[in-house]
Every structure is written in C-alpha cells, then in structure tokens.
Subunit: 502 residues, 2 copies
Amino acid sequence: MEFETKLNQLKEILGELVDLNAVGALLGWDQQTYMPRGGAEARGYQSATIGKIAHEKFISEEVGKLLDELSQAAADLDPDSDERRLIKVTRRLYDKEVKVPTEWVMEFAQVTTAAHQAWGEARAENNFSKFQPFLEKVVDLRRRYAEIFAPYDHIYDPLLDDFEPGLKTADVKAIFDILRPQQVELIKAIQSVPQVDNSFLHQKFDEQKQWDFGVEVITKFGFDWNRGRQDKALHPFTTGFSINDVRITTRVNPDYLNMALFGTMHETGHALYDLGSDQKYERSPLAGGASLAIHESQSRMWENLVGRSLPFWEYFYPRLQEFFPSQLGNISLDMFYKGINRVEPSLIRVEADEATYNLHIMLRLEIEIALMEGTLAVKDLPEAWNSRMREYLGLTPPNDAQGVLQDIHWSAGMIGYFSTYALGNLVSAQLWERINQDIPDLPEQIRQGKFDSLLGWLRENIHRHGAKYEPQELVQCVTGSKIDPAPYIHYLKAKLGKVYGL
Amino acid sequence: MEFETKLNQLKEILGELVDLNAVGALLGWDQQTYMPRGGAEARGYQSATIGKIAHEKFISEEVGKLLDELSQAAADLDPDSDERRLIKVTRRLYDKEVKVPTEWVMEFAQVTTAAHQAWGEARAENNFSKFQPFLEKVVDLRRRYAEIFAPYDHIYDPLLDDFEPGLKTADVKAIFDILRPQQVELIKAIQSVPQVDNSFLHQKFDEQKQWDFGVEVITKFGFDWNRGRQDKALHPFTTGFSINDVRITTRVNPDYLNMALFGTMHETGHALYDLGSDQKYERSPLAGGASLAIHESQSRMWENLVGRSLPFWEYFYPRLQEFFPSQLGNISLDMFYKGINRVEPSLIRVEADEATYNLHIMLRLEIEIALMEGTLAVKDLPEAWNSRMREYLGLTPPNDAQGVLQDIHWSAGMIGYFSTYALGNLVSAQLWERINQDIPDLPEQIRQGKFDSLLGWLRENIHRHGAKYEPQELVQCVTGSKIDPAPYIHYLKAKLGKVYGL
C-alpha cells in the first residue's frame, strides 16, 4: 500500500510534467505552422517559462525522494512490469536533468527560439551570416551542456545519449565504418551503368492535388484523423500533445513530386508510432518512442520499405496517374518505380535517395563532432560543409540555403541528433526482415492496398511498448540482434541491383 | 532602490504569469481552431495544469508580501504612474484570486474543457440534453464561486465584477431599465413602416471570396499581419499571446454575407485594441483591455459605427460588387446600405441588428441571474429561453442550436459576461461622439478609405493605456461622463430614422 501510494504520487507529478511538455510542444508546433513573426519574442519567453517550470518541478527534492524510495521498493517486482520500467525510465531522465542548471535551461529555450527565427530568415535570404551569431550561441550552450556530464569518453557522447540512450560516439563511428565502404561501393557500381530517368518527377504538380493524394495514402496506412492532423511547415516534423493528438506537417513543392509524397509518408510513420502507444501510458513518460533511431525506423519504413516498393505502387500508381494524367499518363509503372528509386548524389538530405542518404548523415556527424571538439568554428561552417559535399558527393551547393542552412536541427539546438537518422534506416531493414518472416504474404497485401496486418504487427511488437524498453533492448528482443547494418545493405543491394540491372 | 528591487521582483513573477496565461490562451485557440477531437481529454489536463500552476504562482506568499510592501511604498508616487497602477491592478486581481481554492480552479478548467466539447457536439446534433449535465456542473461551479465572495448584494455580483470591474448587478439593471423602453419604442416605430429589403444578402457567396474581401477591409483598418492572423472557428473570437501576436477567428456562411463580413470587422476591433497596448506593457498585466465593455466598444465601433455606416460603403461597395457581380451588380448602394441596417427581430444574437441586439442581452442576463439565484434549473433552460424569445422578440427557435445552444460562453464557464456586450454598444456611441468632435472630417476620411486618423485617435486615447485605468474612469476621462445610454439611443434613432424614413 505504501508503495502504491508513493507510486501514485510520482505518477501525479509525472502527469503534470507530461502536460507541461505537451504545452511546450504546442508552443513549438504553433511557432512552426501558424505563428505570426511578431510573436517570436514573446514565444521565447513562454517556452523558457514552461521549460523552467517543468525543469524545477522534475528535479524537485520530492521527485528525488520518491524515486529513491520507489527504486528500492521496486526491486522485488518483475523487471518488465510497467511499474518497474516507469521508475527506471524516470530515474534515468531525472539523473540526467538534475545536473542541468535551471539557468542553462532558460537560456537554451530563449536562444533556440531566437535562433529558429533567424534560421528561417537566413535560409529565405540565403544569408548564413544572419544565422551565424545565433548558432555560435547554440554551440556554446551545447559545449557547456556536455561539460556538465564530464568526465566522458568523448565530448559528443553526452549529446548523443540524449537522443539515443546508451549509445556512444565510438559505437556510431564503428557502425558507420562498416557501412561507409559498402555504400560507397554500391554507389560506384550504380554510377558505372546507365542512369534511370526521373525527369517526370520534376514537373508542375498542383499543390492541392499533391496534398490530397498524400491524404489518401496515409488514410490507407491507418492514420486516424480524429486523433491527428496535417499542416504545412517549412521543415516537416511530427509532434504530439497526447497519444490521441499527434500531428504531422508537410512541405509541398509544386515543381517536384517527391517532397510532399515521401515526406508525408515519412512523418506518418512517426505519427503512427506515437499514436500506437498503449493508452494506459497516457500522461506518463512511457508514452512515445523508445529512441530517435527506433522512431526513425518507423518513418523510414513507411517512406521507403513500403512507399518506395513495387507492390505499393502496383496499387497506388493508377490512382496517382488519375491525379496527374498529363504529367504521368505516359509514364509506365516500371519507369515510375525506377525513377523514384533513382540513385544520384544530391544536395538536400531530406530529398536524398536511400543509397546516398547516409553519406549526408556522416558529413553532419563529422561537422558536429568538430564543432563540439572546437576544431571547427561556426564562421567556417559553410566552407567546411561545402568542401565535404564535394569530397563525399562530388557536389558544390550553389548557396547556403541548399547547403549548411538546409536543416532546422541546429537552430533548435539539436546537436547529436543526426546519426539517429542513419541508425533508423538500419533498424527499419532489420525489422522489415522479421516482419516478412511473420507475414509472408505482406507484399501481396500491400499490392491490394492493405496495411492493417503491417500496422498491427508494428503496434504489437513496437508501438504499444512506447518508451518502456531501451532501443537496443527492443531491437534485440524483436529481431534477435542489436543494431546491425547488414540487413540494410542487403536490402539496398537487392533492390537497387534490380532497378539498375547490376 | 529597495522599492525598485522589489518592483522588479514582482515584475519578474508577473512576466511568468503572463507567459502562463498566454500559454493557456494558446491551448484554447488551438482547441477551437485546429485540435483533433481525440485531443480533448488531454487538453483538459493541460489547461488544468497550466491554470493550477499560474494560480499557485500568483497567490504565493511571496507575491502577497511584495504587494503589501510595494503598496505602502507606492503611496508617495503619482497615482497615475505606471508603477502605482501596476501595483493597484495586480493587487485587485490578487485579492480576488487568493480567495479561490486551487481545487476549484482545477475542476473549473477540467469541466469547461469537457463542456466546450459537449457543447460543440450538442449544437451540431441539435441536442441540448447532451450539453445539460456539463452545464449543470458549470452552474454549480459558478454558484460555488460566488459564495467565495459572500457577502454580496446579489449572488450575480461577484461574477459580473470579474468581467467589468466595480460594476454591480443593480447598476446594469438600472442602465437596462433606461434603455429597454426606448429600444422597444424604436423597434415598434420601425415595424409600423414598410420593411427594407435585404434578401440579396441571403444568396450564395463564395466562401473564399468572402474571406478575401474581409482581409482587404481589415488590412485597410490597419490590422498588422506580421503581428496577427485570422483562422476559422465555430464561434468567432479574438485571442492573443503577446501585444505582437493577436489572432482573430471568423466563421463564413456561404448563404449569408453578413456573418463573415461584420464578424471579421468585429473581431478586428478587438484585435486592434490588444495590438495597441503600449509596448512597455509587454509581459505585464497592464497589457490588454480595461474591461470587456471597453473591449466591446472597440469591436462594435469597427463593426457598426464604421462598418455599417454610409461613408464606409461609399468607399467599399464598388469593391464588394467586383467580388460578387452576379449577386450585387444590380443592387444599388442605397439598397445595400439599407439592407445591412435592416431591423428585424431574429434568433441569433451575433447576427442581430443594432436595434434588437440589446434585447438578446437582456434575455441572457435574466436567465443567468435566475440560474445563479437557483430559481431556474438547467434542464428547464430551453423552455425558459424559448418563452423569453417569444415574449421579447416574438420568435420561437425551431431548435436548440438556434436557441439556447447558440453561444459558446456558458460552455466556457463564462456566466456574467453577456451584459458587457450591451454596455460596449453604449460606450462605442459615447466614444464616437467624442471622436467626431476631435476629427470633424472623419466621415470624409472614411469615404476615402482612410482609417489612420481614427485608429490613431483610438490608440492615443484608449488602446495604449491597456488595462491601466478602470473602465468607468477611462470613459469618464475621455468622454466626460460614465457609461451612459443616451448617445447610443441618439445614434440609433438618427441613423435608423433615416433608413426607415421615420
């Protein structure tokens, strides 16, 4: 009874913290979708105040004492019980956050709000210098953040750990070291044979029709419009304010079909994960995802393993042709399928194909590590970016908007985040192997526009668990091994080998 | 220095409270514009948590002590200095709020969130019984609220005072007693002469064009799109999250021109007021309006004294005809002007003309007083509503959606609010008399589509002061007398006398 009472006390506080985090997320959603420019300064104060209150509430002596008492009392419980996991997850977050001074939290909220605004303007004006002073503050804040967690193996470790619990910079480097040569080899092989045509993707496509087609697709996927919505944003993202209110955003390019098409499926993958948490986790830290890599495995699965597959387009291509008869009426399914799977080094990460994508990530990881180590100054960032783009992808960005200013992450203070995208790709392929063993006729189902078995499998094996398990634990449990690049390489080679006749 | 330090301490706390209130307002804005249905339950918790935190922060011992010390120290200051007024305004709010138990605040936030959702559904389904249990809880909460402030002259007084500082139920009754017979007499006189035609307002009007015309009008008024925006909502409202982020909402009826047209101007009047607070009041309780009546005087002025005036339409009517040539091409300016000023008893308050509007308010005031006194039960509300509609306006609502369910206010817990609408009408006419003395060529300016002198006058005399002065004080200072029904009656008789040739 004593345990029960204390657990309920903790749950009540955690409920309010979840509320505050949801409110903070709403402030962010509004800022990126509808907020007029004039609201930026006040929004900075609002985010800072909510951040400060949540921080102070979480690191209170009361929470510390409850966690101490509950951790001891929970030792007898099943290690996989919700109660014990809730205490464990909360303990981990608490132990990290208790070290961070409130002043840092407030300054971070203020600086990133201003930085986000400056980034948007700098990008619109192709003017990195407008963003530079804000990014310098962000980097400085992130270095100070890492120092809080000293000693560390590497100054980048504390940042990575926030997004991917338990992972080290050295781990990621090791995985990437296996991955890099194989991806480079594949790209070279592709570049040695005739390129496939995808010029038909670069035509005028009515924005509303693009939007409407996307809505049809994700409705089929199982996106529940009573529990979510879709809006436009400069940089697409998914956010949520409850298990039952998860929102995606999409950017529509009237001259290029892929951006909205695959972006919408990608964000829906994230949203389906958040919508799939067990309802009993509402208002608890166990709602949501296990980590960013696991989250990304879901978005990349729906975007690529489903959305760039032949069975998917066997079902949806005739419908897409109905939307765009003049643009696609004379393009065969085979041509279309090859076009959307074309491999070609390009400037923009979010538009990159499956084979070159991870190179964009490696570039960012190296730059972030250098910024954190202090071996690269923010003012030298455009040059560092552009020289790596030339080295890795053979391309020079014509301007910073298509180079160093393309991603929102740094303006939001998110350094340490990017590698989780590549890890997500790897996990998506690991899961896909397993799913296809469990649902042997999945390709046939997709060919008929049926996604309920797939979504059901994901809900049962991944989604419903929310944040209960750590990422490596979850991947191990579901696939039998930790994060492993082999299935992704295998998937890429098999698929692209066919597309390019290798 | 001591005083300065303590004042800054207070200002810092008040800044965070303003942030929390802004966040609460954003939760409300989102709920009424974009939130998917599934988010309702969590939104209730979020609003309750923010309300609870703001409440606890405001009624803390620290604030009480600071106010005590500052009130004493401020006695030497100019009574009209910002410092002394800030302390006075804060003191008044504090003294009220410190009496309200946190439990009440949390329950109120929860109940009204659920009630709002239920109201929307009940209204859509024409089913009062769906709303009834929620309204019963609201009334019960409001009765308990009034009891906190016992003793009172009348149980309705504590509610009224929240919206209109210092005003008593008896005061409002007295003003309405002067107003009622004169409005009834005017309506009778109008009903004795031939009715003007307004059938052309009830045609199909493309929704997007209605929206676009409204945008043109309010842009001319001086609405700053960098500091505000407009969205659709079931029940139009204005809200703000900063002096520099004020948002209006509009409802568009494809079969009736007036709803969006005058609704947009109305909400813009509110928004211009909030946008006009002196920037030095940002993040302070002195930003915003003096009271609801003063706020409504601004919205009604732009909607009626400007938007239903002949000079306004001499400028804008040719443009409106360009938007709707087939609907209005053959309607003369004279016909249009008379049509939009047609007086006719009707069911919906927000669509009521200037002459009958106040009767809608009187009906609501009587019902609210009866609910609070306990002489009317919620279950008997539809009948009470309908019988008064018959008595006052000679009409029977065909269903509850067009009757007792038409207003959002009660679902949001706002009992005590309605009479401020009628008071706003009165103040708008008082101010208008004064403005026309100060700007003798105002009608000519409006005829040329120029509103900057008018907006400048309002900013200088009303807007910039924010909430610094109490409403009666402000009206007295600007017009030379307190709230007075005579100018409104004078305005109505003069204008409608011409329209109807009385």
